[in-house]
Structures are given as C-alpha cells and as structure tokens.
C-alpha cells in the first residue's frame, strides 16, 4: 500500500509541475491570446538555468556554481524570463499563427543550442548531479517524495494565487481587452505591445519555475528534455481543461498527465501477454482519441472561462484605471 501512496505522491509531483507550466500558458493564451508554440523553450531555460547555477562543477565546462537552491531556482526563472523578453521584443508584433511558428522555432533552436554547446550545457550528454533539495537531510526516499510534493504544491499555490490576483486586477482586464479587441484596447489608451510583452515574460517565468522544479527532482537535464512533445502536452492540458480558467488549467494538467502515464500502467494489466509489445502503440492511440474526442465534445474545455463579475463592476472599473496602465 505504501508503494501506491509513494507512486501517487510522485504522480502528483509531476502533474503539479505540469500544472504550473499550464498555468503559465494559461496566462499567455487563456488571458492574453498569445499563441506560444515554444513552451518547452522556457521550461528548458528554467531547467538549464537552475542546473548551471546550482549544479556541481564539471571539468572543462562553464557553470557548476553550486549556489544555494533558492538562488539557483530563482536564476533559472530569471533566465526563462529574460529569454521571453528577448523573444518578445523580436516577435510580439506577430500575431497568432506567425507568433506560434516563431516561438516554435525558438524552442527548436534552443534544443539545438543545448545539444551542441558542450562547454555550456554538456552537449547531448546533458548535465548531472544537481543536489536535490533536502535530500541530504532526509533519510527516507518516501519522505523525500512527500517533501518534494509539498514544495511543488506550494509553488503551484503561489503561482495560482499570483495569477488570480493579476487577472482580477486592472492589468488582467487590460490583457483580456487586448485578447478580445486590440484596436479597441488601444483606443482606450492601453499599450498592447507592452502588455503583451509583460504577459509573455510572466508566463515564461512561471514555465521556467516548472523547469527548475523538474530538474531539481531528476537531478539531470539533457536535450532529450527539450523535445517539442512537452509543448504539445501542455497545450493539450490547457485545451482539455479550459483556456482562460485556472481551475481548468490545473484539472487539464492532472487529467492529461494521468491519461499519458496511467494508461500505460493500466495497459500492462489489461492487455494479454501476447500483446504486451503493442501496449505502447495502443497507449498512443488512446491518448490521441481522448484529445480528439475532447475537442469534438467540449471544444471550450471541461471548465471554460467564466466572466463572472457583474457587468457594472467590470465596465465601471475599466475606464478609470486606464490612466494607470
């Protein structure tokens, strides 16, 4: 039984990290309408940034500063934010599919950079040996899992609270205004370019936090972690859960990650021995079917966006705050 609890702890840890990244994408896409096709780039910047700052020194390689955990994690987040800032300055004039393609390109370029810059990232061999937080003081592997889950949940709660505060502030309403009608927002005195940049940078920092947490669990990062499949997974989570709704984003992350992993677990028990070799392929079919049927059945997601504020407060506050933006 302790095994099941231990596995569920781990499952929730990974789902929690996915949920954090999905919340970052929700800020960008759900609230601002930015089509970020390079989620994995910001995840990767956070992961590599954390590893370079907090990992052990390697001969012939930059980094390995062995900084305290929070400094390393913070550095990873800053690196992701800085990457988003540069990318944003260059690409935010682009809309929708153009932005998606250029951010996707950034992600592919970053993967290529990580694979080839051996002096910086260890190349395809990756980087290893990150001291996992508290592992030195916690004897039990199980207890370490629980503590790490608590860390992830704490970050998730912080991100949730932050985004909720943000989107219910005048800033958040301005983001939604840009998403709905950029010209109208501009006419009201908002600066869409600046707001979009902020949304991209904050969302990317959140994704970077996800990457930093991931690397501090596995103690290893390699270009294999930067493949575009992660971007696809996170988008599936947000779309299935419901864009523009933080509850939806978190629910989608847990559901899709569950479908992705628990289906493999279930299949090893359900398919006959003669078909064990095909279980992997069956799993892909199941995941694909689930996503497609969700899109057909509930294209707005399980928990769609709700503009719940009474009309007078929303409309009434929007105008006076325009001076502040």
């Amino acid at each position: 039984m302790i095994g099941v609890v231990s596995y569920l702890t781990f499952f929730l840890t990974m789902a929690g990290i996915m949920a954090i990244i999905t919340l970052g994408l929700n800020l960008q896409w759900g609230y601002t309408g930015l089509f970020n096709g390079g989620v994995v780039a910001f995840f990767g910047a956070g992961a590599y940034g954390t590893m370079i700052l907090g990992g052990p020194a390697e001969p012939g390689q930059f980094g390995g500063f062995g900084l305290p955990y929070l400094v390393a994690l913070g550095g990873g987040i800053l690196l992701a934010a800085a990457l988003a800032w540069v990318v944003g300055l260059l690409t935010l004039r682009l809309r929708h599919d153009y932005l998606a393609i250029s951010t996707f390109g950034v992600a592919v370029a970053l993967e290529s950079l990580a694979r080839n810059s051996q002096w910086l990232t260890g190349g395809a061999r990756g980087m290893r040996g990150f001291p996992r937080p508290f592992e030195a003081v916690i004897e039990s592997n199980f207890l370490f899992g629980v503590v790490f889950l608590l860390i992830v949940l704490a970050v998730l709660a912080l991100v949730w609270w932050g985004i909720e505060r943000l989107v219910h502030s005048p800033f958040g309403r301005a983001l939604r205004a840009i998403r709905e009608d950029e010209t109208a927002a501009r006419a009201l005195g908002k600066s869409p370019t600046r707001l979009r940049l902020w949304s991209l940078v904050i969302g990317a920092a959140i994704m970077g936090a996800g990457g930093g947490l991931y690397v501090s669990y596995t103690a290893f990062v390699s270009p294999q972690d930067l493949l575009p499949i992660l971007t696809f997974q996170i988008w599936a989570m947000l779309i299935v859960g419901g864009a523009g709704n933080n509850r939806g984003a978190v629910l989608g992350a847990v559901l899709i990650w569950g479908a992705w992993t628990l289906s493999g677990f279930a299949l090893t028990r359900l398919v006959p021995d003669s078909m064990q070799l095909d279980a992997g392929s069956i799993q892909y079919i199941l995941i694909g079917t689930l996503i497609v049927s969700m899109l057909l059945w509930r294209p707005e997601g399980l928990l769609p966006e709700r503009i719940s504020n009474p009309r007078n407060t929303t409309a009434g506050k929007a105008a006076p705050t325009s001076n502040k933006e």
């Binding site: 039984m1 095994g3 099941v4 231990s6 596995y7 569920l8 781990f10 499952f11 929730l12 990974m14 290529s112 694979r115 080839n116 051996q118 260890g122 190349g123 395809a124 061999r125 990756g126 290893r128 040996g129 996992r132 592997n141 370490f144 991931y214 669990y217 596995t218 103690a219 290893f220 390699s222 270009p223 294999q224 972690d225 493949l227 499949i229 992660l230 509850r247 978190v250 629910l251 847990v254 559901l255 569950g258 992705w260 992993t261 628990l262 493999g264 677990f265 279930a266 090893t268 028990r269 064990q276 070799l277 095909d278 279980a279 992997g280 392929s281 799993q283 892909y284």
Partner: protein, 419 residues
C-alpha cells in the same frame, strides 16, 4: 479534482488487489520491470528480445523456483514518461530489478531519481553516455548500475587500429549528433590522431534531415583518404549515398550501429567493398552462434538490428544474478551477485535454456559461472561498464561476415598505448 484522484487511487488499488489474487494462485512469481521504447521502431525488437529471455529463464525453472513476470512498459523515448513508468514499476509492482532503457537521456534520470534512491538494480542494454560512468564513479548509482553496451572507447580504439593497419593517412569523422555520437566521434578523433592519422574534420549529422548534401560537401572539401562513420542506418544510408554520389572515397570504417541489412541493401553491396565495421562482440564461443540460431528459430529472422545481442545479455545476466540472490533479494543483493554470473574462472555456460538451467544449479550450490553470452563472455568493471573483446566485420552476399578478432588483451593493450 479530488474525487477524480480518489477514483484513480481506488482503481489502481483494485487493479493491484486483482493482481495479487492472481499471483497467489500460482506457486510464486518474481516481478521484473522491463522498460524499453516499444512504440519506436528500433525499440520494439530490443524489448521483444528481453521478454524472450524471461521465457527462457522460466523454461529453465524460473528465478529461485519462481516464475519471472516480466512487466513491460513503454518509455515513448520521452524522459518524463520513462521516469514515471519506472516509478510505477518500482513503487507499485515492487520490482527489485529494472531492465532498461535505451536512450541515456531517460536512463540517467531514472537511475538518479528512481532506481538508485530506492535501492533497485538497473541494467541497460544500450545506454551509451559517458555520463553514466561518471555517475557510477561518483557513488551516486550506489553500485546498482550495469550496462552490456560496451562503451564507445573500445570501438573508437579498434577503429583507429584498423585505420592504422590499412595504411590510411587522413580521415574525416562523421557522427550522429546525440550523446552516443558525440562521445564516440570525439574518442575516435582522438584515437586516430594518437596513431598518427590526420583528422580533417568532425562533422555532426542531425536527426531526420531530408538530405545531408551540405554535410557531404563539407566532408569532401578536405578530400580525406577515408571516412569514419558513427551513424545509425537511417542517416547513414542518406549520408553515404550523397557522399558516394559526389565522388567521395569508398574507404569507410563504421561503428556497430551500421550493422544493418537495410544499410547493406540500400547503399548497395557494390559500393561497400572497402567498408569495414567494428563491434565489441566475440562470436568465438558456441553460445554466440547459438544465440543467432536460437534467435532466428524464435523470431524467424536473423538478429540484425542494433542492440539485440546486448538486450539478450542484459536480461540474462540480470535474471541469473537475481536467481543467485534468491527470490526475496533486494536490488543491492542482486547487484552483488553479478560477479558470480560473469566470473571468468567459473564454469562456462552457453546462453540456452539448458545452459540457464545448468547455471542456476551451479549458482544455487554457491558456485560461480562464466556466462558466455550473445556478446561474448562479458565482465563488468567497478562502474558497471562492460569490457569485451572486439571484432571487425565486412558486408558480404549473405549479410555481414566477421573479418578479424581482437582479443580483450589486445584491445586493452592498444588502448593503454594510445592514452
């Protein structure tokens, strides 16, 4: 959301309950985790081979009298999915032995975050990264890590040996741009230089490019006397065709990853007359031929894909060590028994059902055996790396033929001389 999670927990608990019920009905069984990229074309036969070893061990009497239950999971060639699957195998199926996986980018996080912390032994067929040696040397792997993939340095050294003996004066290294390719490309370049061969350039090939014309043109610029190819068949075929089409030399030395019928037939035997390959196996013992025959009899075709012999040996050595350690052994105890299975002074046993039965009898009595596997009589060093003799091979009408055999002593002596 909470209800959903509780539901999942309930469902998993139910599944486990059902499974335990089924297990109790038999005498006893031992769960062994097997993690390979079964949904990837080249991963599937590797997994198939490992499962086949499980069947053979069961025929020979099972691990310490218990049926081996090989639980196969797919890592989808994705680190996060692979770590999750390993975690489920270790936590829920309570395996003490995990066989897998191929890609070092997945094997390493599993080793550092799942198996080593949980005290589970891990044996891989094909992970090649030199990072794994560092992890083992640092103590992070807690002596639980083994691989039957001979690290790239042996092949790189043998390539230099062949090039020197063939009188090649200059060479260009072309490698697959992944962890394995970067390692072997770097080591091969160093080895060539150590024996006085001029290395013009080291060129990386990225995966899945429609054409490698630019890279072939770049290699041609230096007019090298030979090419060293550390490539997989897919990009190998594509690159070599461009290269020969542009008029490049047909003198080529290849790593064992090119040991493929696809490569031979698609590039064409006529173009491969000057090709020589390296490998780290030793078809000197009857068991290696027995492996090829048994494989052909079982699967209906000869084992020609990469990693099959390694996958066979990984599973066989790990399961024999499990038998020696007993059905209730922990991962650490199983790992401690590996030297008794690969003891050069032990009784030589072939990799057949009868051989396994014989080995298990000897191991049960406290003796030690020298397992003569599909990749030869391998032994492991302190970091779980295999040391093995080498062969050179060429393509011929019937497939691939061994050209020369380089004993373990020769390989070690040569490697010491160039380092």
């Amino acid at each position: 959301m909470k209800r959903h999670i509780l539901g999942l927990a309930g469902a998993s608990a139910l599944a486990i309950g059902l499974q335990t019920g089924a297990a109790l009905a038999q005498d006893c069984s031992v769960n062994v985790g097997t993690l390979y990229p079964t949904s990837v074309d080249w991963g599937r036969p590797i997994a198939e081979t490992a499962l086949w070893v499980g069947e053979m061990i069961n025929e020979a009497g099972g691990v310490d009298g218990c049926d081996v239950n090989m639980i196969l999971r797919d890592d989808q060639n994705d680190g996060r999915v692979g770590v999750d699957a390993a975690r489920a195998l270790v936590d829920i199926d309570q395996v003490q032995l995990l066989i897998g996986t191929v890609s070092s980018g997945i094997t390493i996080p599993i080793l550092t975050s799942v198996t080593a912390p949980a005290g589970v032994m891990q044996m891989s067929c094909c992970s090649s990264s030199t990072r794994l040696t560092e992890i083992a040397a640092s103590g992070e792997a807690r002596g639980l890590w083994f691989r039957t993939f001979a690290t790239a340095d042996v092949q790189a050294a043998v390539a230099a040996m062949l090039a020197r003996d063939a009188g090649i004066e200059s060479i260009t290294v072309v490698y697959k741009n992944d962890d394995w390719g970067q390692d072997i490309g770097r080591m091969a370049a160093a080895a060539f230089e150590a024996v006085g061969i001029e290395v013009h350039a080291s060129i990386a090939l990225n995966d899945a490019q429609p054409s490698y014309r630019a890279e072939a043109t770049q290699a041609l610029r230096d007019q090298p006397g030979a090419l060293y190819l550390a490539l997989y068949p897919t990009e190998g075929i594509s690159f070599v065709r461009e290269w020969l089409g542009l008029g490049g030399t047909s003198v080529m030395i290849g790593a064992n990853s090119l040991r493929s019928d696809d490569f031979r037939t698609t590039v064409g035997l006529a173009n491969l007359g000057d090709f020589v390959g390296t490998d780290t196996s030793s078809p000197r013992v009857p068991s290696a031929e027995a492996f090829v025959d048994a494989y052909a009899a079982h699967f209906g075709s000869a084992p020609s894909g990469p990693g099959l012999a390694n996958s066979f040996d990984a599973a066989a050595i790990a399961l024999l060590a499990y038998h020696a350690a007993g059905r209730d052994a922990t991962g650490t105890e199983i790992a401690a028994q590996v030297p008794r299975v690969t003891d050069p002074d032990g009784e030589a046993i072939p990799a057949t059902v009868e051989g396994f039965a014989q080995a298990m009898a000897i191991l049960s009595e406290g003796g030690s055996v020298s397992y003569q596997g599909a990749t030869g009589a391998v032994t492991f060093d302190a970091n779980g790396n295999v040391s093995a003799p080498a062969v050179s091979w060429v393509f011929d009408d019937s497939g691939m033929a061994e050209q020369s055999y380089i004993s373990l002593e020769e390989v070690s002596g040569f490697m010491a001389s160039i380092n």
